[in-house]
Amino acid sequence: MTYLDHAATTPVLPEVLAAMTEQWGRVGNASSLHAGGRAARRAAEQSRERLAEALGARPSEVLFTGGGTESDNLAVKGLFWARREADSRRRRLVVSPAEHHAVLDSAEWLAKHEGAEITWLSLESTGRVTPDALADALGDGSDVAVASVMWANNEIGTVSDVAALAAVAHAVGVPLHTDAVQAVGQVPVDFTASGVDALTMTGHKLGGPMGAGALLLRRDLECTPLLHGGGQERDVRSGTLDVPAIVGLAVAATTAVTSRAERAARLSALRDRLVAGVLEQVPDAQLNGAPLDGLLDGTAAGGPGRLPGNAHLSFPGAEGDALLMLLDARGIECSTGSACSAGVARPSHVLTAVGAAADRARSSLRFSLGSTSTDDDVDALLAVIAPVVERARRAGRGR
């Protein structure tokens, strides 16, 4: 099996498995006062400190959640509610149309049910949000509750300059949330240095467990809870702490961040070979997103950066779901980037947002590399991509 879908989820790291297995063997609710509870609490708080250190945050800024979707919902809805409560003029949300659905649908839900107004940011054709675009959308900021721009896009891998965006938002007094689910462990992410006010991360994109994530949230920012109860996480998020998952999350983040530079160099070289090989065999394939020549830190001088493990290509005349199926039948696992719970392939909303025609958006595949990717994986794809595209194009004709 050739796994080229690390952006969907990536294998659990052995050290994560070991740490979680050990923790699972213990009893204790981190909120309990007895010895077992104290031991659990200690494990959770050590993990909070480790995670904070890996991401350049203070431990008190880490809120453990059930993953990226919850963190995005909490940031968008919680900051909207809290900021509007403080000043009823703040009804506007400034959002990139290429966000993950956890952000998009949260914003649209607020628009539908809570009287929010959404201002969609204009994007460069690479998918990047520029500081100027954000400044235009914010205006004087007085009516804005929160702005949300992802650090790196999950489909096309484009990295925006979040620090510059945070500076623009702060100049007009607006907090910036960023979904950094794909960025952590891929590009340097430093919460404090970036200046963002809230940051979403999750465990299973970097070798940790599914269902465990965090929202890094500045201490001085009010955030209305989604989950009420025991108030475990700063009274912003309730629920018994999932200590084994939190331990795994912290080990994963630490490992991924520590080994990041070396892995990024390796993966971007592999990725470049993958893209070059595909373009050689399918000359009319199109690379979506930012060019490959971004620097290893995900940025590029004067232009957007790109996640090191991301290759997103369109194959004009072929349907993405036919390509996916044909590759799957040949043991190659990748993604069309945008499938819903019922599994119907749709044109990527990200490509549509950056102005791609429906055909290009429908004919795209995402190949994403990760810790276990090797040259063999790239070779396996290159061995079959030409006939697969040819067959998918034949199947696409006459539809």
Partner: protein, 355 residues
């Protein structure tokens, strides 16, 4: 053999897929997202389905360990089946959407795509026998679906597999239960899939609007009632006519004229039809020589009747029924069978009832 199993989420297609796996084929499951009905289709930013049937189909595919995909054919289904259905009613005819779906979606759009993608055949859970390229009635007479497959050509049938034709529905459910499929006890679907509430007249009125007109008695020429649109009627219909006649004898719809919005009704003696003209036929195999003695089934759930088939005008057929039948509605398929009590009645082909 590489086969594509069309999996609706029902018990029949689940068992058909399972039998294809058992037979040693390389099976891939596909659920067709067809519904243009916004109640069953999630629209919005993602615009995708959340149909429970897709989930049921996926559950079975996962149990079988086969790849599973959802193909979005809603647009094509809307054009070729739903819009056709509405247009046919608007023209005073009575279409069969299941037959149309088999003809244009399952065994054209899906089959063509499957063949192009490298599959050898499409497996479905239809109750009909198919061996050596010949289509026959199912062993289970009550569940037989050969009527709605009668429109397929030899070429289409060559790419089709119906593993359930030689077993009863009871057996199908037993196999599903043995395998622990959650769909083993799922009720059969009866309604037209894009009219989930079963209110065909209401559906058509929403699409076509209210167009009142007279209901006229054929014998007297008298207006005996009014209606809200000719699309609410089918030739041969007896119930729901909304008429008042003095003699208390049942009336049947004899003719529907959309242009004048007239629905003509008459007594049983006038409702019988002995000679059925059709459009040019399709044949499931070599075209038979005419004249031909055969049996004809004139709608989905009626008995076949003996007939003689001759050539008609414009390439069509004339089907002379041994005994006159009520409810011969233009737009329905007249499916011709060669009776065969041993191997199952052979489906010869069909012609759409003209009018």
């Amino acid at each position: 053999m590489r086969v594509l199993a069309a999996m609706s989420g029902g018990v029949d297609s689940a068992v058909a897929a399972a039998l294809a796996v058992d037979a040693g084929h390389d099976v891939t499951g596909v659920h067709l997202a067809l519904s243009p009905d916004r109640q069953t289709l999630r629209s919005g930013a993602r615009g995708c389905c959340s149909v429970e049937d897709a989930h049921d189909a996926r559950r079975v595919a996962d149990e079988l360990g086969i790849p599973f995909y959802v193909w979005d054919l809603a647009e094509r289904f809307t054009e070729d089946v739903v819009d056709d259905f509405v247009a046919e009613y608007a023209a005073g005819r009575t279409p069969n959407p299941c037959l149309r779906c088999n003809e244009r979606i399952k065994f054209t759009a899906v089959l063509d795509r499957a063949l192009a993608l490298g599959f050898d055949a499409v497996v479905t859970g239809h109750h009909a026998r198919l061996a050596d390229g010949r289509l026959r009635r199912s062993v289970d007479a009550a569940k037989d679906q050969s009527y709605v497959l009668g429109v397929l050509t030899a070429e289409q049938l060559a790419g089709a597999r119906f593993p359930l034709g030689s077993m009863t529905k009871e057996r199908v459910r037993a196999i599903a239960a043995e395998r622990g499929f959650a769909v083993a006890t799922k009720p059969d679907s009866h309604d037209i899939c894009f009219i989930p509430d079963g209110d065909t007249r209401g559906f058509l009125t929403r699409r076509l609007g209210v167009h009142p007109g007279p209901v006229v008695d054929a014998a007297t020429g008298a207006t005996v009632g009014t209606h809200e649109g000719t699309h609410g009627f089918t030739v041969g219909q007896r119930r729901g006519l909304g008429i008042a006649v003095g003699d208390q004898r049942p009336r049947y719809v004899l003719a529907i004229e959309p242009l004048t919005r007239t629905v003509t009704v008459g007594t049983a003696d006038l409702a019988g039809v002995a000679e059925v003209p059709t459009a040019p036929p399709t044949w499931t195999g070599p075209a038979p020589e005419l004249p031909l003695r055969a049996e004809v089934q004139l709608r989905a759930h009626s008995a076949a009747v003996a007939c003689t088939v001759t050539a008609g005008d414009g390439g069509g057929l004339v089907i002379a029924l041994d005994e006159a039948q009520r409810g011969v509605a233009p737009g329905q398929s007249a499916v011709l069978y060669a009776p065969d009590p041993v191997r199952g009645d052979l489906v010869l082909g069909q012609g759409t009832v003209a009018g």
